[in-house]
Symmetry: none
Subunit: 250 residues, 2 copies
Amino acid sequence: MLTPERHQLILQMIKEKPIVKIQEIVDLTEASESTIRRDLTILEEGKFLKRVHGGAARLRGKLQEPSMVEKSTKFLQEKKQIAQYAASLVEEGDSIYLDAGSTVFEMISSLQVKDIVVVTNGLMHLPQLLERNIETYVIGGYAKPKTNAIIGRGALASLEQYRFDKCFLGVNGIHPHSGYTTPDQEEAMIKQKAMTLSRESFVLADDSKFSEITFAKIADLHEAMIITNTIDEDHKGQYTSKTSIKVVTP
Amino acid sequence: MLTPERHQLILQMIKEKPIVKIQEIVDLTEASESTIRRDLTILEEGKFLKRVHGGAARLRGKLQEPSMVEKSTKFLQEKKQIAQYAASLVEEGDSIYLDAGSTVFEMISSLQVKDIVVVTNGLMHLPQLLERNIETYVIGGYAKPKTNAIIGRGALASLEQYRFDKCFLGVNGIHPHSGYTTPDQEEAMIKQKAMTLSRESFVLADDSKFSEITFAKIADLHEAMIITNTIDEDHKGQYTSKTSIKVVTP
DNA sequence: TGTTTTTGAAAGAAAATGATTGATTTTTGA
DNA sequence: TCAAAAATCAATCATTTTCTTTCAAAAACA
């Protein structure tokens, strides 16, 4: 049996059971224990599973097939939690705006409702959206290589064509006085515009964004609801007095 | 057995099983192991499969694309030739429109000039364009899952914002009387509009497109220059009298 | 005919495998 | 709780399988 075949088989097993014993894999694959151990080492390096004493365990959150996009940050877990909650807010029939950015990206795989319309400026999001057969509109404009986002004058005009029930934005800074900020002026304008076109606005942010200020202001705190995972009790009051915060607990 | 025959057979096998062993191919084709290894090397270069130790594996992502599997190496070769010539037409400082579609896609990797502006409705093209640091604008509108193209009313309006030195289009049919045609009415409108916004228009087509007619008309033959690889001498006159054709010779 | 391309065979290199060893971790049982 | 027993582990090595390279014969081509 070929190595990648075995790997597939192992991943299959771990998709069905959260933990599999080495011996179980040995029995099924008819390969030696050494070989299976080597396989597990490789699969662990590729972030496909976690080795545990006696076997291998499923990675939290990664029940789906492994795309190469992710597996970068240690915040992924947190991002997923935040994204999952945000996705649960989307209701049947909604038209929503999805901002570019990795946290918002994680929302897509969690979207349960099907009868929605999505507008986005995030080029990274498109393959996933199309694969899931979600009705998707892209705004036109300059494709910024660094963030894979559509921005610029054309993007603003293009965005103007739509109206949203909800918009979901990523930001880089959240601050009681300075509000929501992001490093790029052009991206800030897009986010701003999206908010004005939307009945409700949501900002997705892990707690590293709190008390940060970056260059371009998007809006004041009260203009959106923040979705985050944990928030320092000491500073919580500074924010809760100005906006509603949903804290997603692990 | 002829080389392309063997290649087809191998692609067929890999369409049915995600992984095939070399020995299995040897048994079926009755060619030597050396030959099969050579075949696999070629097919891997053509991005049709991935070699793995002991055999070959199906590529992730572009698997069940019927059009993809049908394509023989020769076919891809032809597209590359056409695309390469088309790319050589792009001059420093040009603003160009790149239509969605696989032949036009092949142009991107052949683009030598750097100081150009590209506008496209092809979502597939974006990763490649951005990676090559080409200034890229995307038109806004509905993202059509099947072709990964942006189309629709919004796309037309978005396109209207730009002017081009040259536009490069794919079509499905070329016919002396019916002109250029494509199966999707909406896509036809986009192509049409792109032509009107461009000083020069080029249609990229392998010879399977000649004498074909599909649903939606884009334009008459004389409105664009055809770039193709070979053309049947018998019918050549029908086309050359109505348009200029560049025949790219192997 | 001579020339190029394709093919198959063979040799050495590289990779994958399975068994073994001794170390490490977990479990057992007092 | 502790130490012995059992299970699991990483590291190593010999063996097997697969790969690449090379070369000459066969086939296709002009």
